[in-house]
Symmetry: C2
Subunit: 214 residues, 2 copies
């Protein structure tokens, strides 16, 4: 199949589709309709059909989709068969939890190196992940050909660490700090700002009150 450039919005839904298919497959299901899929992933079925159309014929109308082949297709598209080594920078509470978390629904994402400045943690192995001194960051990232990093450092050192990651060859950063880091255009940043998400949720609750009144 020829590589086509698909819209970013579609790309963002692929992991969602993939994981639900994997869940169905693990539960022993063979077929799934676009309606069922739509209900489960909370994406309307017209969007699902449009998304799937970028990948050619994935199912027969009226027969539903074959769970296993669809799952395998998305696994391939998402590089689920390739292992991506990820660096984690900043082993505080959240960093530590992410090491344990291990992106558990995916076998293709592995945190292979962690970095910190705290002497009591450098040199330890946490849940299988070695913690290196931040001084070794460039060296390890280059040697391990790591291109993706998770940034869980304090605010003050977010930009500095982002700079070092980019310089060492990292092209994708999952940024858990509230800082909007500056990176070159070819570097992708995924901001995951938990305080922001929570504040937005609370704001919505107090400003978009609807009918429900006790």
């Amino acid at each position: 199949m020829k590589e086509t450039t698909i819209p970013k919005a579609t790309a963002k839904r692929l992991p969602l589709y993939y994981r639900y298919l994997k869940f169905l497959f693990d539960s022993g299901k063979n077929k799934v309709s676009s309606t069922e899929l739509s209900e489960a992933v909370k994406v309307d079925s017209a969007t699902i059909r449009r998304d799937f159309s970028y990948f050619g014929e994935l199912g027969k109308r009226g027969y539903g989709y074959d769970v296993e082949s669809l799952m395998n297709f998305f696994a391939k598209t998402l590089n689920e068969d390739e292992l991506t080594n990820v660096a984690l920078v900043g082993v505080g509470n959240l960093g530590h939890a992410l090491i344990n978390y291990r992106f558990h629904q995916s076998d293709s994402i592995r945190i292979s190196a962690a970095f910190d400045v705290k002497e009591d943690i450098v040199g330890r192995i946490l849940d299988g992940v070695p913690v290196y001194s931040s001084n070794e960051m460039s060296k390890q990232i280059k040697e391990q050909h790591i291109e993706v990093a998770i940034l869980t450092v304090p605010i003050e050192s977010a930009q500095e660490n982002a700079d070092r990651l980019v310089e060492a060859g990292v092209r994708g950063i999952m940024n858990f700090t509230p800082v909007r880091i500056n990176v070159p255009d070819y570097v992708q940043v995924q901001n995951v700002d938990l305080t922001n998400e929570m504040q937005t949720l609370i704001y919505f609750l107090s400003h978009y009150k609807e009918d429900k009144e006790d």
Copy 2:
């Protein structure tokens, strides 16, 4: 000031503005221009000015914004002066980290109760947060008037726990599970799916390669 309904996209940027202003204030800065603000939060200045326009006159053109009064305004808008009690359901690695994390940049968000089914953890106090048995969820949430919950349970029990939360009166759920939970319309769900985010980031890296080639 009259309460106006602002667009959701604007609402989502408020915590970002607020936190940067707080950062400036803490660093002793008095004035900030929309250009500086734009550069820092990575939102173009036209959008910033439009966002701010929903809140009336917040600064004088050419003089920049007064950091302290702008910060106080957003604090108020975001209910930063009101404490929101939050329940956390599922004290695994991630749940535990979130208890420690404490949404640290905000003094207004407090996890006041955690729930789990594991006997070895129920009855303990983790970083100041009591862990109750899941059987007590409805009772505690009602008694503590909790309206916001964080869901960090295993996939299999996500929907069941969401149902119990909604039944107990929760109107906002920050959902860390990959499950797209079903809730009534008046309940807001903020999905934070870390595996999804990471897979999307990796997908972008391999499918949107740009000029940079070594």
